[in-house]
Symmetry: C2
Subunit: 543 residues, 2 copies
């Protein structure tokens, strides 16, 4: 047994099936071990793209991994790892590294791919991961690998393992059975008091509402959250980051809340609640609608990962999952239904009659999308106008939704679609991506085509950075106009479809429905200044 | 006067004409000021590409600049900045940032594009720049800006300025005249002793040789280096990183040295020298031919930025420029000519007769290139096989050469070509780029086309990562085959030219010669395993 093989074996034992990455000389030996294993090494066009793909994979599969070379590879993937850290995605970063024999002492020569400091990469990753280790001894490596991987699962945050080239083949003990300790620290006494106070407040409330966030999904507490939602019958909204974590066809679902940017009916119910149970929801500027949220802190109970905050006081060491379980066990079923509103998202679901010759507009595009999305779709809404508009879609019962609405790095969605399909082979990714974002990382379409994946990609071509344009417009928002529909041909697939009218859109959607086994690439041409109402409001807030 | 305007004014006073960047909400206000100024804001497809372009621009223009938004922008440009730090490129990084009012105290909400820690981006840039500052007060900003920009020029290293959104319009004093102190610390006594010892060693030497490195170019000491070379008449080789800094048609130029990977005649002269004057040359693994360099430390004088090392002892506070000037003033002209060898690069310049029907090979391609390159060309050799092969080209008197052969990040060359053309409008960039590197950042071709630039791009399509393939071959080296010649059409230009035979290459070169005012994109199809002799040796060393 060697350190490299040990690590690969543990990854297999975790249930990982794919690792994304780009080869480089410091990591080739380790990559050879991956190729020999049951794991599938998916090489992408760039390290950043590998990181985005692994992030999306981790969101759906419970853990993702990216493998890169030292220096140029590590430094290129930082942005993706920072995003995963911000949004609590369990992501394992494995980097090759220079041989220990070249860094154990003051080495007289400078090594390529470095700036001369052999600790730098680790030191930086330490700041954007939950645990970061350089494997420097075969004896300690075994324990370090186990602990770092367990930390990834326990905290649902990225971790970093650097494996120097000469450690890959170093002999170590064999991996035995492994039950990683993934439980967060729970203090029963604190939990009891937190739940009791919560119950008291619920009993006293006239119209309690739940605001559900993404953390329940990250910390394997989604079923517990659903139990609470179904059992109480309280009206429930999600944050933008939490969209998709609960079925939107639940009778008590009232839409996605993000301050004054939300549908008016959703906003009204959430903000008029005399008790708002924020379960796994983060208070981010976007989720709060650019600080337009009108929420009285004294009416809030915020339960996150390991803390429960009631009004202005804090309960520590109360994991979200335990809190939800205890709440479900104690709360009386259906006693407090609060106000039951009509599903506001339904307003988007009104019958849609295409006007074939009409120039397609942003609003009409999104209205039409409500009738296109089906249960097996995983939606990916790119940062920018796509994310702000897609969040108002009404999802079918089983459809999933991914959008990086806190870290908000544009260019995420195309590589993410690659990861999504590998994590859930039976799904069909449906991507909404702007032209600015697409120009950043769009070449990953090439890998999607190489693997014969079947996403539907709506490239919303509004000729520039629309999200910036609604804030300040200037020349820097202009992009070179590409012949986008030709790109799939460059990468080895059929030409894309260009949509200008509502009739064109109908034909494209028809083709997407019929051709389910391969990529359908749709360029949707929209006017530069065709902002949705939500986007107008976003612009007003960000000015 | 405002802090934002002050910064822009100083950039103008430095002689900067272009800034590369990608807009984002934290930096829009500052970008508006750039648009109002004499500076040209060149927006690229991604931040990483902006960094590469600014790096190449800085190499030729004396200083480059990149402007990005906070978090997602800053984290995406790290790899380019690390490369600039490693290779001593004067690069100014300007990042927008969250308003001070949102970070002066413990802010209750999470801000988009961050991971919650407002010091993180600065703290990381501090590790890969020579000076890193967040402008937090209008009073101090003025001095900080002046000092940080002077540091960039003085050390020829990247610097970082973060300008919070609410500081852009903050009032401050007007910028007066400015003479940045760019002199490195010189100790005259130490200099005197270092030069005296050097002269003594030169006098005693039978065949002294000069190894010239890139630092003379970075520290404005190129003319001083040339003076020493011409005055002494010593045989002179460059390192791979230093290629292009001296005219290769000088009678005493003997080729590019990188250990046993160099031409045999070059290697022989350098390694048999009884005194090797390493002037501005770094001892990197690639420049030492993967540790195959056979250099006796006791016969070396290594003069870098601020230190002169003779055998095993060190003189501190001796800037390279001052050392070169003093050496030139003291050394007796032509006394020690050493061994005068025939120009080894000439072996590559033997007459080339194309065999029109013959399948083009790697070796024949490079032989042919020797007859194509002209004085107004700036060559860009991408990391990987292109860099190892191009380094043996014989450059015309005035042609320039850029290759990131120490940090060696693939994907550098296409964005770099964009920067090169803006830095030297009269030149024609000639790019040699592999398909693996091209797939990383090739979309910057779109910006090259948008600006109507005229590079000649040779895409060396050997169907995968050839540089990795020569080390270990495995599936991870395979890439999706693109229809590369169609890409310029996607981006708005004419179809590229595909070259399979020597005859095809002749036609392509003819077109490049005739069509000098626009992009000429040439896909050169080479066999996967058609390694040059140099590349074979590289593979052997890296295994």
């Amino acid at each position: 047994m060697t350190v490299g093989k040990y690590l690969v074996r543990r990854l297999e034992q975790m249930g990982l099936r794919h690792i994304f990455g780009v080869p480089g000389d410091y990591v080739l030996k380790f990559m050879d071990l991956i190729e020999e294993s049951s794991l599938d090494l998916v090489n992408t066009c760039s390290e950043l793209n590998a990181g985005y793909a692994a992030d999306a994979y981790g969101r759906l599969a419970g853990v993702g991994a990216v493998c890169i070379t030292y220096g140029v590879g590590g430094f290129s993937v930082y942005n993706a790892v920072a995003g995963a850290f911000a949004e609590r995605v369990p992501l394992i970063v494995i980097s090759g590294g220079p041989r220990l024999s070249l860094r154990g002492r003051l080495h007289p020569y400078l090594l390529h791919h470095t700036i001369g400091d052999m600790n730098l990469q680790h030191d930086i990753f330490e700041k954007i991961t939950q645990a970061a280790v350089v494997l420097t001894s075969p004896e300690r490596a075994v324990g370090q690998i186990d602990e770092v991987l367990a930390t990834c699962l326990r905290t649902s945050r990225p971790v970093y393992l650097e494996i120097p080239a000469d450690m890959v083949g170093a002999r170590c003990e064999s991996p035995g059975l492994w039950r990683p300790d993934t439980d967060l620290h729970l203090d029963q006494e604190v939990l009891k008091e937190a739940v009791e106070e919560t119950l008291t407040l619920i009993r006293a409330a006239h119209n309690p509402v739940i605001l559900a966030g993404v953390e329940s999904c990250r910390l394997s507490a989604n079923q517990d959250l659903l139990d609470v939602i179904e059992h109480t019958g309280f009206p429930v909204a999600t944050t933008t980051l939490g969209k998709g974590i609960i079925p939107e066809q639940l009778p008590n679902f009232i839409g996605t809340y993000f301050g004054s940017l939300a549908n008016e009916s959703t906003r009204k119910v959430v903000e008029s609640a005399d008790l708002l149970l924020c379960l796994g929801a983060w208070m981010t500027d976007i989720d709060l609608g650019g600080y337009t949220a009108n929420l009285d802190p004294r009416r809030l109970i915020i339960a996150n990962s390991e803390k429960v905050k009631v009004s202005h006081h804090l309960y520590d060491h109360v994991p979200l999952k335990d809190f939800l379980k205890a709440l479900r066990a104690s709360v009386v079923k259906g006693t407090f239904r609060g106000s039951k509103e009509e599903h506001p998202a339904n307003s988007l679901c009104r019958p849609f009659t295409p006007v074939p010759e009409a120039r397609l507009t942003t609003d009409r595009f999104w209205e039409r999308m409500n009738h296109f999305i089906t249960d097996n779709h995983v939606l990916l809404a790119e940062t920018g106008s796509a994310a702000f508009d897609a969040v108002k879609l009404c999802l079918p019962q089983k459809a999933d939704y991914i959008s990086q609405t806190f870290y908000a790095s544009i260019g995420f969605s195309i590589p993410a679609a690659l990861g999504v399909k590998l994590a859930q082979p039976l799904c069909r990714p449906v991507v909404f991506v702007g032209d600015g974002a697409f120009q950043m990382t769009g070449q990953e379409l090439s890998t999607i085509i190489r693997l014969g994946q079947n996403p539907v990609i709506f490239l919303l071509n509004n000729d520039g950075y629309q999200i910036e344009r609604v804030i300040y417009d200037n020349r820097y928002n202009n992009l070179q106009m590409w012949d986008y529909t030709l790109l799939p041909v460059v990468y080895g697939a059929a030409k894309g479809i260009q949509v200008n009218t509502e009739g064109d859109l109908e034909s494209a959607l028809q083709e997407a429905k019929e051709r389910t086994d391969s990529l359908v690439f749709v360029e949707v041409r929209l006017d530069r200044f065709d902002f949705s109402e939500t986007l107008w409001k976003v612009g007003e807030r960000l000015k």
